[in-house]
């Protein structure tokens, strides 16, 4: 995964597969980042061809960690497979999902 900074928003770009092999690493990374108060985080899934329940669990854990310190997390660019899985598990009602990173970044400034 790659961590980027876009102004005051942290963007985490996930790799091709978002599964149990990387889920714990993401949770550890987000836990560290989320220690800051009011963190703004975008999970960029543009490169993620496949996500399973471990990936979904890591996203839920990340959202919880961020919200705990008054921050917010959004998801950008999910693939058709990811959208289908989010819909099946009703996580599409839990996550704020945007078609691309720019839209997700823009939503932070609109939330002010």
């Amino acid at each position: 995964m790659e961590i980027q900074k876009r102004n005051d928003v942290t963007v985490i770009v996930m790799d091709d597969r978002f599964d149990a092999a990387v889920a714990q690493k993401l949770k550890d990374v987000v836990r560290n980042i989320a220690e800051q108060d009011r963190i703004k985080l975008v999970m960029d899934l543009a490169k993620t061809r496949f996500i399973d329940s471990s990936g979904c669990g890591a996203l839920v854990a990340s959202l919880r960690a961020v919200i705990k310190n008054n921050g917010d997390m959004k998801i950008a660019s999910p693939s058709a497979q990811a959208r289908s899985l989010f819909q099946l598990t009703r996580l599409n009602k839990v996550f704020e999902i945007y078609d691309d990173v720019e839209a997700a970044l823009k939503s932070f400034s609109q939330n002010v």
């Binding site: 149990a20 092999a21 669990g57 839920v60």
Partner: protein, 141 residues
């Protein structure tokens, strides 16, 4: 190509195997006539496979006691079957609580997802300590 195909693989139940296995399984399925042009179905099969293998690594074999997993992929004219055999701890899938989708959790979706995307989820344990999980998808003619 013949309608019947059986592939048998034995690997260690280690998370490092999940990616090469999933790449292999996806590439295999995509080449089968019954699955050409059905990306959504292939996605679901890959998901079921990934969930099953992950569960075996995490739960059948605890950290100190690793072991092998035998995977058999059997494709017939009217069904595809993933069969996983391990010698780890057995469990009763009927005692696993279904997830409450209105209260998102960080885990516990694997078996439920396998049951959603596959047509049959069959698990049994044999007296010799072998656990067998069969995931079956029916294929339309």
């Amino acid at each position: 190509m013949e309608n019947e195909l059986t592939v048998r693989i034995e690997v260690p139940a280690e998370m490092i195997m999940i990616r090469p296995l999933d790449v292999f399984v996806r590439n295999l399925i995509q080449q089968l006539p019954a699955f050409c042009g059905t990306e959504g179905l292939v996605d679901n099969l890959e998901l079921a496979f990934s969930e099953a293998f992950t569960n075996i690594c995490r739960h059948a074999y605890k950290s100190e006691r690793k072991g092998p997993v035998t995977i058999v992929i059997r494709v017939g004219s009217n069904q595809l079957e993933f069969r996983f055999e391990d010698n780890g701890e057995s469990f009763d899938p009927d005692k696993v609580r279904s997830p409450n989708l209105d209260k998102p959790c960080e885990g516990g979706l694997g078996i439920w997802l396998m049951r959603q995307v596959m047509d049959e989820y069959l698990y049994h344990s044999e007296k010799n300590g072998k656990n067998v999980l069969r995931l079956i998808k029916h294929i339309s003619a």
